[in-house]
Symmetry: C2
Subunit: 335 residues, 2 copies
């Protein structure tokens, strides 16, 4: 089978560009026993992908130069030498930016198209969902009546963090980019408030929205937003650190002054519990997550929005957009 | 009774100086029922006192202008209207920088001079001891074989953190100021290694001393030391944040670049659990602490060193010295 795929051509300095990727055409290998041939239907586009393009130390190995760009996918089985999967089955995979992939059938997650759109396996019922659920509940540990703030509130993870926090009885404040997203976060997702990080009055807006301070700040962005949330944090508050999208494209450290002294002082005097995590740390909670999230979806308590672009060749541009907050909802590429 | 006392005369900008204090002479009030007259024998001098001199937001109210400077004391009862205490008894109190104090007898901690030097109620068997014990065990949660690093390792808290970590079976590395303190930390306190934060090779020295990385960093200082420890932190490591002595005298933020991006990135990618605490958060563990620490002292497993200066009037200078790391051992003023 002729396979079009996008490989990493070079490592970006700062902001990535189209020249960091290369579209290639290859042939798929014949199936071995236990393998399946997958045809990609959806690629998930996520902020963490920027990290994989660099070779600095991180929690996962970088994508090698010339290797297919990584990423979660929803695929259709088009050929099978694996007894558990038939042609026409849909699966969740991690087969990256390519039209076809030959992979072992074992370990693929079979999806039931009767139960809802298969693309949800890349958002509400997949990695972003598990990230929101486990980070909020394990590290944030919100109690009813507490105030939960989440940045990138209209995004795949943030939108779920806030909705789960509402289900848990919290006062929930989102931070998002622009009035349209803020309106969506309040009117559709049901947050109590949402402030615009592009507004020059962010600091005061946040203060007004969090009159009782902040008990949980679910951190997706870093930088100026963190700076504005920090003074609002309550004693014994918690900060799950899930992402730092504002700094992924930095090619050098931001100019001074050195605000790490402010951060450390807040951690000390307010006894903040700050903890980084990645979703892989919590895969053992997948069954609990799927049970709860499927139930909430069924009951209409969780809303979501997908931002879909068509064509493999548009994946790089979709990633650049996600890194700038240009997407509105979970970013997917449909093939 | 004529009482000499030191009050806060003004708030410092940056480094405090003698002019921020004033020595006064007053008379003690007559005793009411349930009160005792205390004569101060030892004042404890501790880094946190710098925070109380300023009126910025913190975990405790600042000392008011004209008020007696706060601090832990060991005192002798010289008059008593409280049935539980006799003249001649020694007590641990929080009566501040003065020769005499009239306080309610209830709540004072009676000390037994037969069991060891009463001054230990201000160090190994007092607030610094409880700080080291609870911060290390609750937040650091070290496991046998793990590497524990502690800054201000020759200080009242740091020296105990490292010795407790050794008792718990850890590889323990101290960070201290100057070769004499480093030698003491290794040869007397029994740490596995100690590196000098004044050395230009601190970064490399720390790397060499922590070949398996750092699982627990007990933070007492902040600034450049933190910057050098951060790259050594292991995945899932813990950082109890107990103090930030390097930044207490800052009158403005350090110059750039803004290193908070580095700090946040380390927290995220290494899933570091960072948590501030103060000893008051853990007073409920006082009985466990006293039981364990008294036992370790009795068994000769805990060593300590006191740095004693005589005369109330020398308390300010003693505090300035502590803030610059000029003390060697627990700083006390003997009256």
């Amino acid at each position: 089978m002729t396979n079009r795929r996008i490989v990493l051509a070079s490592r970006p300095e700062g902001e990535p560009s189209a020249s960091n990727f290369r579209l290639e055409t290859t042939e798929t290998a014949p199936l071995k026993d236990g393998e399946v041939l997958l045809q990609t239907r959806f690629l998930s586009i996520d902020p963490y992908m920027r990290g994989r393009m660099s070779d600095g130390p991180s929690y996962a190995a970088p994508v090698g130069i010339g290797e297919v760009m990584v990423g979660g996918t929803v695929c259709e089985v088009t050929e099978s030498s694996f007894p558990g999967l038939q042609v026409g089955d849909f699966v969740g995979a991690f087969s990256g930016w390519q039209e076809y992939a030959v992979v072992p059938g074992k370990g693929l997650r079979k999806l039931d198209p009767e139960k809802g759109p298969v693309s949800l396996a890349l958002s509400v019922l997949g990695m972003p969902g598990l990230t929101a659920y486990t980070g909020l509940l394990n590290i944030g540990a919100p109690k009813p009546g507490e105030t939960v703030v989440v940045s990138a509130a209209a995004g795949a993870v943030g939108s779920l963090v806030g909705q789960i926090a509402k289900i848990k009885g919290c006062h929930v404040v989102g931070i998002a980019g622009g009035p349209e997203k803020c309106r969506y976060v309040v009117e559709t997702l049901g947050f109590d408030a949402c402030v615009d990080h592009r507004s020059p009055t962010l600091y005061d807006d946040l203060k007004a929205a969090c009159q009782a301070g902040v008990d949980v700040y679910f951190e997706n962005v870093g930088g100026k937003v963190l700076e504005c949330v920090l003074p609002r944090m309550n004693d014994f508050s918690r900060m799950p650190v899930c992402g730092l999208i504002s700094q992924y494209n930095l090619s050098e450290l931001p100019p001074g002054p050195d605000r790490s002294a402010v951060l450390m002082r807040a951690v000390l005097t307010k006894r903040i519990h700050m903890q980084g995590f990645i979703v892989m740390d919590y895969v053992s909670q997948m069954a609990d997550f799927l049970r709860d999230m499927s139930g909430w979806l069924r009951d209409g308590r969780i809303h979501y929005r997908e931002d879909i672009v068509d064509g493999l060749e548009n994946a790089p541009e979709a990633l650049f957009g996600v890194l700038k907050g240009r997407n509105f909802g979970k970013m997917l590429v449909r093939l």
